[in-house]
């Protein structure tokens, strides 16, 4: 028992490093973006706060046995948190727009080509193939998918990758319009489309999540946790007989998990893990993935324009991504810039819903393909 040690207790301020300072600022910026700019505040606030806590010297809450460490072990390492979140997301998601307009499904594939373009570019920049896969998956624009895949393929990069995903997600309305305009001609943008929605029975709505689970799990068994959880949540929703459970999934489970997930991700934002050249590359590659996704969608839209003899408006292609319903609304708005009477929204919603599904399948496929190596 040595009273002299007591004075050492107050040495924490002397142990702050410049890396910590940088990360404290980074954490503050995330909180700022969440609150002032409304960029995914449900995640950026907890992530930012977790980043603050992990970058204070000797901080008891952030260590291996601190709350954040325990949450990380319980929820991220076991992958429970992203999967629980997916159960909640599934219970929130209405696949109706896709079911009513199934022709839009392929756009959900085209809107994720950026993943693979980014994967290739990342390899060229020197990342190994697993890291490159994780970085590419930022292009799913889907938080839980990104966390699930990155924590399996390159856990040491989890922090920058998930921060990139969540930060860019809100930028979709800013990134999307210039890409749409750059890649389309005015004539293409003016294409009007008739909308004939297919009535969807309750049976179809109920069978859809079951069938998708079966198919995707058979195609890519490694991806089953992602698709199965989102579809399970959706089954609870569509069954119509277990509203108590569907509500528990989309409220209690989703909210509580979001808090814990954000804090644990934030706690991985140590200076060592973050302040590296790779982080800059990751941020740039993430942006590249976003851009290429939308470009892929628009280009596929142009292909459909050609194939259908000019009956498909390529703007809709850019909605084949996961950012729902933001991305569909941008399509509607840009379409109306050129023709105020042009109503692309319902088509874009179909593509956007396909994009939600495509993002999970694409992320799962990358994981599956790289697990085979």
């Amino acid at each position: 028992m040595d009273i002299d040690n007591i004075w050492q207790l107050f040495q924490a301020p002397t142990l702050i490093t410049w890396k910590m300072l940088v990360m404290l600022i980074a954490g503050g910026i995330l909180i700022y973006l969440g609150i002032a700019k409304d960029y995914e505040p449900m995640l950026l606030i907890p992530i930012g706060f977790g980043a603050l806590l992990t970058n204070l010297p000797l901080s008891g809450i952030a260590g291996e046995d601190g709350l954040l460490g325990v949450l990380y072990r319980i929820g991220i390492k076991t992958e429970i948190f992203p999967l629980l979140l997916f159960i909640g997301l599934g219970a929130m998601t209405d696949f109706g727009p896709l079911l009513e307009n199934p022709k839009m499904a392929l756009l959900g594939a085209a809107g994720h080509i950026g993943i693979f373009a980014t994967l290739l570019l990342a390899i060229q920049l020197g990342f190994d193939i697993f890291e490159a896969g994780s970085i590419g998956v930022i292009g799913t624009m889907d938080g839980p998918t990104v966390i699930f895949v990155a924590s399996k393929l390159s856990p040491e990069m989890l922090a920058p990758i998930s921060v990139a995903a969540y930060s860019y997600m809100s930028l979709v309305p800013i990134i999307q319009p210039p890409i749409m305009k750059l890649l389309t001609t005015k004539k293409e943008r003016l294409v009007r489309m008739t909308y004939s929605k297919q009535e969807v029975s309750k049976t179809t709505r109920v069978l859809f999540p079951i069938v998708v689970t079966l198919f995707v799990t058979l195609i890519a068994p490694v991806a089953s946790p992602l698709i199965a959880t989102i579809m399970f949540g959706n089954l609870l929703r569509e069954s119509g007989v277990v509203d108590r459970l569907a509500n528990a999934a989309k409220n209690e489970i989703a909210n509580v998990t979001t808090i814990f997930l954000g804090l644990s991700i934030g706690a991985t934002m140590t200076g060592e893990a973050f302040i590296r050249l790779e982080t800059l590359y990751i941020l740039l590659l993430g942006l590249f993935a976003f851009v290429m996704d939308m470009a892929g969608g628009v280009l596929f839209g142009k292909f459909l324009y050609l194939v259908t003899g000019g009956k498909f408006n390529p703007l809709i292609g850019s909605a084949g991504i996961s950012a729902f319903p933001m991305s569909a609304r941008v399509v509607q708005r840009v379409g109306q810039e050129y023709d105020y009477q042009n109503f692309l929204l319902m088509h874009a919603m179909g593509a956007n819903t396909a994009g939600q599904l495509g993002s999970v399948i694409a992320g799962g496929l990358v994981l599956a393909l790289l697990s085979g190596l």
């Binding site: 896709l98 079911l99 199934p102 022709k103 499904a105 392929l106 959900g108 594939a109 085209a110 994720h112 080509i113 993943i115 693979f116 373009a117 994967l119 290739l120 390899i123 060229q124 190994d128 193939i129 490159a132 896969g133 297919q198 009535e199 969807v200 029975s201 309750k202 049976t203 179809t204 069978l207 859809f208 069938v211 998708v212 198919f215 995707v216 195609i219 890519a220 119509g240 007989v241 509203d243 108590r244 509500n247 396909a354 599904l357 495509g358 399948i361 694409a362 496929l365 990358v366 393909l369 790289l370 190596l373």
Partner: protein, 105 residues
């Protein structure tokens, strides 16, 4: 095989399977929709309110609708005579507002 070639293989394969999967989904949806055509929509909606609590609340809300309507009539009648606040009648004609349709949690 070097990493980039593997990357190419994975990308080609990934894009291929991704398009195949979503193409398959199109077919699945079309098939399901053919097999299970929708019945009358009202019936479907009614079935969805089977949770007991929800049912009770909606029932009580439904009960209140005549009351609300009555109040609206009464008030607009009074105000029409008094002509104190000209703009108010409009909001009444819109009906009792979203609140009454809100799902109780």
């Amino acid at each position: 095989m070097d990493e980039f070639s593997i990357g190419i293989t994975i990308s080609v394969l990934g894009i291929g399977v991704l398009f195949a999967a979503l193409g398959l989904l199109t077919l699945v949806i079309l098939l399901l929709s053919r097999l299970f055509r929708p019945v009358s929509k009202d019936e479907g909606e009614e079935k969805m309110v089977q949770d007991e609590t929800e049912g009770l609340v909606s029932a009580s809300q439904r009960e209140k609708r005549p009351l609300v309507a009555a109040v609206a009539v009464a008030v607009s009648h009074l105000l029409a005579e008094e002509k104190k606040k000209a703009g108010l009648g409009q909001s009444l004609h819109k009906g009792p507002g979203k609140y009454w349709d809100r799902k109780a949690k």
